[in-house]
Amino acid sequence: MADIVTLAEAVAAHVHDGDTVALEGFTHLIPSAAGHEVIRQRRRGLTLVRMTPDIIYDQMIGAACAQQLIFSWGGNPGVGSLHRFRDAVEHGWPAPLALQEHSHAGMAAAYAAGAARLPFAVLRGYAGTGLPQVTTSIASVTCPFTGEVLAAVPALRPDVGIIHAQQADPDGNVQLWGISGVQKEVVLASERSIVTVEEIVPHLEARPGAVVLPSWVISAVAVVPGGAHPSYAHDYYSRDNGFYRRWDAVSRDRDVFSRWLQTHVYDTADVAGYHRAVEHERIGA
């Protein structure tokens, strides 16, 4: 059964220095508040895993939480570069960042294998690309039935998987809907898991296409309204496109970024404080 706790308690209990940590959410339901809490608690030496490291990983990398990144696409969607990610790779600031890079198809297959507790995943991918030369976790395997040579990637088995969802019930069962990404897979692939939710409702209503995760596969549930900002939560709030655009200027400069991190993360106690800081900046700008 999942413990229903505060986000600070969940991160303190389940995210440790040196862990392999995956925050997932494919453009939708990105668990940003949980990432901020990891920064606040000054976790170090993490191997961060995420298909699309976008703003939240730019922040975690810039805050020196990470020593390695396993990913498939690192950009600011619809805007351009991730400047903190680039600074770490190109100049080693604030610390060098080792990369293991895949394609989306490879990452998705690796999560699915992790969820199934299989050692590796098979896919038709990577052939003829430069990726197998730079990423040691890409190999090939021969089908024992047909002889076809296919790509193989080791299963992703994070120490901690973290996602954001719309709702939980009082027992800690979780439901999310809309674009569901790899959220089910990352929770089932991980040793421990944290789910932040918009709210706890008395009963989860059946919804077509929704993902339901039973309480007993989740370690901790925390109520964090607005916890996916600047991404969105389907049927709760929309994407803050202006924030994605403004992030480009904030993240370009180390000092501007460091001040942003201070006022929006270190100086705030929780997601409500973060939202006040975002609102203050928007009005002040």
Binding site: W73, S103, H104, G125, A127, T129, L131, V182, N241
Partner: protein, 265 residues
Amino acid sequence: MSAAGGEGFTTDEMMAVAAARHLDDGTVCFVGIGLPSQAANLARATHAPRCVLIYESGTIGAKPTRLPLSIGDGELAETADAVVSVPEIFSYWLQAGRINLGFLGAAQIDRFGNLNTTVVGAYDHPTVRLPGAGGAPEIASSCRETLVMLRQTRRTFVEELDFRTSVGYGEGPGSRERLGLLGGGVSAVVTDIGILEPDPQSCELVLTHTHPGKSVDDARTATGWALRVSDAVRATEAPTEVELAALRSLRYADEEWAGLGGGGA
């Protein structure tokens, strides 16, 4: 925003229109953000209403009325025939060979349509770290055809890629077959100068069209290898009023919704 060339349309608009014309009605497309999304939605709004738009976020049959800023915008899920998980979209749909046409962009392309979206410079010490592969390697290998859209300069059209993220025709004839790739490869490259298509024998990209106001020399100057030009190179037909009106109504909705100041893709 790209400059209008005095013809009453921008180079971005010319690219979107030229790519849209490439889509037949009913084509099942794997669509990315930016110009590809504009092109696919323009095709759907004009000559190809039954085009099926699939975004890698798992939205199948999306029918957005405003252009999305990311491949996972809520509008795509709300208008889709089906929303599936990311592992499913890449395994059951893309790698299974169900997609007719995939759109790709790149920072670098070579004469065989191989693409780089990973690094400029050496991999271990890049001068520019680019976003990386995303869905591109398997889109390039699995779709029946791929349509590449990028601006043509000596920095983008290079003799040798700094990194091969996605395979076009590899080293030339026979490469795709040796690699066991299911899809057919690049069918056209739409640039701000014209259109290139692979030679059926050599697989090398050949300039087949120049856009209004652009010349063969413009294309040669903007290419980092000795560009081959078709004996029958033709002028691209300028965007029609119907195409421009449809495209601008899509973009207007995007700018209004996103609160943007009127920028292009």
